[in-house]
């Protein structure tokens, strides 16, 4: 068969529209591997049109109110089906210190291609799709975000770092939903920054990087660096982070750590960029993000 370039949805499926979390997880328990939840559909529908995924049952999360919304109660808790646009508006208008230090996540949402996609796409979908190019993942990794996974009978919480397993693959079992993303209270005197390089503004990244710095006077008290599109999953650059801690911040240090982070990653060449380009750009944007985040801690 010829590959198709008119992506009409040929694949057939049954559609379920539960209104409660219990119903949704019950449907997943019943249909298991033959089911897929759908949130905004901006990844799943494209994959179904290209016949890369062919679930027999599609379970819409759009009417499950318990999965929506953002709450600040010690932690910042974000419902999985909160849209990227709503999250962006919340982050850029409502937050006081120390949560105002989540700048990088706002920047990641803002860099998220187009207005239409920002309205339709959800944060949970961005993580569950497990693309190495997820824009929200690097900032969330630097915040020590945790995800809540729920089946009909069981709930577990894990660090986001352990959630990503491979491209398109997460720690989710077939009967589990991602219900919430939880960001713990950030340390005082911290700030963050996110930089994405893409071919054009409305494309997914060739490389993206998020950093979070916590300062203590002129010293770097704590440092986090995470990168996207440079490995099978979004990754932290742990060795580069360690070299920052306890140091006095300087532009020369940022330059050196950018190069260090670039040595830690294993990017591939694909249609968006070559391995060499990704490695080069990673050093540059980690440096720039460090400079920007440090400036914001003042």
């Amino acid at each position: 068969m010829l590959p198709t370039n008119t992506h009409i949805l040929f694949h057939e499926f049954d559609y379920h529209a539960p209104t409660t979390l219990y119903e949704a997880t019950e449907l997943l328990a019943q249909y298991g591997d033959s089911a897929r939840p759908i949130a905004g559909g901006t990844d799943l529908l494209v994959q179904m049109k290209m016949e890369r995924r062919q679930p027999a049952h599609v379970i819409s999360l759009a009417r499950v109110n318990a999965l929506q919304g953002i709450a600040l109660n010690g932690d910042l808790t974000i419902g999985a089906t909160t849209s990227i646009r709503d999250l962006h508006q919340y982050l850029t208008s409502k937050l006081q210190p120390p949560f105002a230090s989540l700048q990088s996540l706002g920047e990641a949402c803002n860099g998220f291609s187009t207005i239409q996609i920002m309205r339709m796409a959800t944060l949970g979908g961005n993580l569950c799709n497990a693309s190495p190019a997820s824009d929200s993942a690097p900032p969330l990794l630097t915040f020590d975000a945790r995800v809540t996974l729920k089946s009909k009978t069981f709930e577990r919480v894990m660090a986001l770092e352990h959630f990503f397993i491979a491209p398109g693959k997460t720690a989710l079992q077939a009967d589990e939903l991602l219900t919430h993303i939880r960001i713990p209270r950030p340390p005082h005197q911290s700030a963050s920054a996110f930089i994405k390089i893409a071919r054009v503004a409305a494309d997914i990244s060739q490389v993206c990087a998020a950093v979070r710095l916590t300062r203590d006077g002129n010293l770097i008290h704590d440092a986090r660096i995470a990168l996207g599109s440079v490995a099978p999953t979004p990754v932290r650059a742990a060795a580069a982070e360690r070299e920052l801690i306890g140091q006095t911040f300087s532009a020369a240090l940022a330059e050196k750590i950018g190069k260090r982070a670039a040595q830690e990653i294993q990017p591939i060449s694909d249609i968006r960029a070559t391995r060499a380009y990704r490695q080069h750009i990673a050093a540059v944007i980690v440096r720039d993000a460090l400079l920007r985040a440090w400036e914001r801690t003042q």
């Binding site: 992506h7 049954d14 529908l45 207005i115 239409q116 996609i117 339709m120 503004a201």
Partner: protein
């Protein structure tokens, strides 16, 4: 794959139509005769299929029609017709902002949603609002002129 009776409120008119679950809103609308909604890339990149659902522009190629059940949908034909065009439509004509015209319906819907939110958009806001709509013909300059002039026209009424 049992079809379901779905109610689509399009441009103020209610349609009761039986749709299979794998029908996107794009094709449901075109099959109902709303061929002003264009099928371009079918994967969210081009914006040609843009319609307003409950006040927000969406790419109808990525929305299952069942999710639009009972919702208010506006297509470009719902804004005005040749005899009585919407100021945006008139400005697209006056400023030569449509050449082949394929991107125009989606472009105008994005512009409409922008002006509903920001009656006096900055150039930055306008460029951002239209960034999900690709045009292969005009080079965008005339589109931007048309949108800013329509904004002026609407608010000076």
């Amino acid at each position: 794959m049992t079809p379901k009776l779905v109610k689509l409120n399009v441009n103020g008119r209610a349609h009761h139509t039986a749709l299979a679950p794998n029908t996107t809103l794009l094709h449901a609308l075109r099959d109902l005769g709303y061929t002003d909604v264009k099928s371009g890339c079918e994967k969210g990149d081009c914006g040609a299929c843009g319609v307003i659902v409950n006040g927000a522009v969406v790419n109808s190629c990525l929305l299952l029609a069942w999710l639009a059940d009972n919702q208010e949908i506006i297509t470009v034909a719902g804004l005005g017709a040749a005899a009585k065009p919407h100021p945006l439509q008139q400005a697209f004509v006056d400023f030569g902002a449509a050449q082949c015209g394929f991107c125009t319906p989606g472009m105008i819907m994005s512009a409409k949603a922008l002006l509903d939110e920001y009656p006096h958009p900055t150039d930055e806001q306008m460029r951002e609002a239209l960034s999900g709509n690709l045009c292969r013909c005009t080079g965008y300059t005339r589109i931007f002129e048309a949108v800013q002039n329509a904004a002026h026209e609407i608010t000076s009424d």
